[in-house]
Amino acid sequence: MNDFLRVAWIVMRKDLTVEMRSREILYTTVFFAVSCVLVFAFALVREGQPMEDAAAGILWIAIAFSGTLALGRTFERERHTETLRALMLAPSDRPAIYVGKLLGMLALMAVVEIVLVPLVGLLFHAPFQASPFWLVVLILAGTLGFASVGTIFAAMLVRARSRDVLLPVLLYPITIPVIIAGVRGTTALLQSTPDEPMARFWAALLVFFDVVFVTLSLWTFEPLMTE
């Protein structure tokens, strides 16, 4: 178990070190997320007034879109430098590699979300600060659900043809429950009096989704990555 966590930690640190040196994925993903929100702002703000209840939807769409971009790029790097095979040859548990990759992905998406939340709040007049605890729980659980499925699909697609197109094709139908729960939960928090029991329900659903899909990914990573 200790060894498992150590390998996961090393893989994550490796990913983050590579990223910190080039900052390629971080910069492009943040910029993409911001442009995404701006496109929505131009489409949905009329005469200075944003559409009612749009903020939660836009936040989650921006998270999903920028997450997909980041997922594709992280594994493209492994493919480009032929390092995925080296990673797979490492004498360690395969699922530990998955966990390491997932943690790296979560760290990256967290940075993007730190930029996104205030931006959406500002442009769409959304009081995200009303109940910060449940907002953080929803975003954390939602991001974990999205990234857990995304990481395993992106890893599998490394060797596939037309991988850029196939990642969103596979990922979005599967992660729709995350988007529904995230949007509904966040909308509940943005009411004039935050509806915390409702947010708690959606957060619980997200946590349940996370448990099922992280388990399923850990279980299938080994057979999926064996050539």
Binding site: V149, I152, F153, M156, L157, R159, A160, R161, S162, V165, L166, V169, L170, P173, I174, I176, P177, I180, A181, R184, L205, F208, F209, V212, F213, L216, T220, P223, L224, E227
Partner: protein, 218 residues
Amino acid sequence: MSKAFTPVAFIVLALFALAPAVVAWAPFEQTMGLVQKIFYYHVPSAMLMFISAFVCGIASAVYLFKRSAAADRLALAAGELVVLFGLIVMVTGPLWGRKAWGVWWQWDAKLTSALLLWMIFIAYLMVRRFGGPGSEKLGGAMAVFGMANVPFVYVSSMYWRTLHPAPTVVPTLQPGMRGAFYFCVTAFVGLYVLLLTVRRRIGEHEAEVERLHLALED
């Protein structure tokens, strides 16, 4: 192909030939009248769509862990049938909904989960077709994840209004309607088994041709 195939094919053909008459003889529903008859095709197709999704998901899991090519062929056949029966569901559902609810589409739990399940399996077929080498494994994962996703989609969309008639409607049907309904279910299950068998058989032939082709090249 097993000896039972031809007789079963004839029985299913006969059932489908008789089905319009059976459906026409079934009593009229009081409030909806004629449109209710769609139910005899819509419900069996929806049942088979969900059953087929589970067949595909379980066969894919067997393929991933046991590397059984037969399980993979079964999964592909079942995956194609999810999309086929899903198409029937997606065409007959709105036709009924337009008359019964006044709208073509509603974001109701059953409709949303059926639509998403259908989309997941369309994505499954796309991966199988365009994924290149190793796409069987990719598709296998998609099917397993898609199967696990069904309850989540259902629960998450349930918090929107549910308009769709509950599945408990079937035991409360009038005897005349119930007979016609089970007749149609039998016909559709027969059709499903036949199509699944034929598609698997095609998969086996393809694998055989591939093997012979490789043997010839060596």
